[in-house]
């Protein structure tokens, strides 16, 4: 198990160039994946805004 994965992630070329993905949720998630971390305020992560799981 890799605690801090640093592997390269590849995305399909056509999606990379198509920043106006017409699905709001998937566009946001793609942006977060590209950034390597959640960047939106109020998003859950394990240091902030946690519940028990």
């Amino acid at each position: 198990m890799d605690n801090n994965p640093s592997h390269e992630t590849s995305y399909p070329t056509e999606v990379e160039s198509d920043v106006k993905l017409d699905n709001v949720t998937l566009a946001r998630l793609l942006e977060e994946v590209r950034n390597g971390e959640t960047v939106q305020p109020n998003a859950y992560n394990r240091q902030h805004n946690r519940h028990n799981r």
Binding site: M1, L26, V33, G36, R46, N49, N52
Partner: protein, 374 residues
Amino acid sequence: MITIDTVLVKLASRCNLDCTYCYVYHMGDDAWRSQPGKMSASVVDATAGRLQKLYAEQKHSFSVVFHGGEPLLIGEKRFENVCRTLRTALPASCGLHLQTNGLLLSDTVIGICADHDVGISISLDGPATVHDKNRSDRVGMPSHNRVMSGIRRLQEHPAGASLFAGVLAVVELDSDPAEVYAFLKSTGAPSVDFLYRDGNHDVLPIGKASPVSTEYGDWMGRLLKVYLSDSTPIRIRVLDDMLKLLMGGQARKEGVGLSAYGILVIDTDGSVNKNDTLKSAFAAGDRFEKRWSVLTDDLNQIVSSAEFEAYHESQRPSCVTCLACSDLNICGGGMPTHRWSRENGFGNTSVFCADQRRLISLMRDHLVRYDLVA
């Protein structure tokens, strides 16, 4: 050394609700009966000191979650002391967080959370018809109206929007996912997370006909469809994490993906225990053999011990079916407590294996349309 990212601090061992599905009170573990009702000031002080030292040595921020029972049963005055003591002991990078059923979410409590930057997450299963099916108080009265009053107070507070982290809902299979999602969104919550009913291979979760049936996966699949159709969505944490994994990203939720997570639980008497959800597997399933306490033991030494490392290692699925599964990097083998059977211990697939594989398949169907599967 193992990195701790979450510390559950049990401020109260009792609850003012009597939810039918609660893993603390209704799944065979009675440890709460011998716990002090509320965490004392001396245990709070010891907890703060131990956590301060933990942070100094691991140099990695963690989240402290005030939990129970119902944590606000500790009382407003003591709650203020807890928040002040921990906020003083820990850097701002360590999040403080309250997981509450919302019944005692008074203006005073909200003000305390605002003063000490304590995020608030509220347990709410959906509209009254769904929520009150399982979440009654100790005399059998429904709780939905009181929870909604607490949410309204939070929303009306000047700091409410920044404090409100989201709602936590347990899946009710008889409900309509579209109705549940629409209602939870209408509360103004920025985020929602869904939990399955706890269970294992010996005691199937409510609503599952067999380990190979997909009732939860089907329900979540319907929720996924609603979620991805919403042009102004709130966040659904579990779906986000799984979708991001399928897109080649990372997850942060326990029981999803293969990233390691480090959880400590401190009970009201100061004892240090394993992830409390393990109570649902068998009585005292969350207990270490060594009886550690913040009153007597250093957390770094606990985390470095062989017994803690073995507990930490147990989050990795070990059964051959999981290890050979193409979806393992998405589901992560689920939560350890859901893998339990008397026959094999935790060496099974999750009891939700078929559900998760069904959900992952549906997610792939959606992502393929956008060519987003990594």
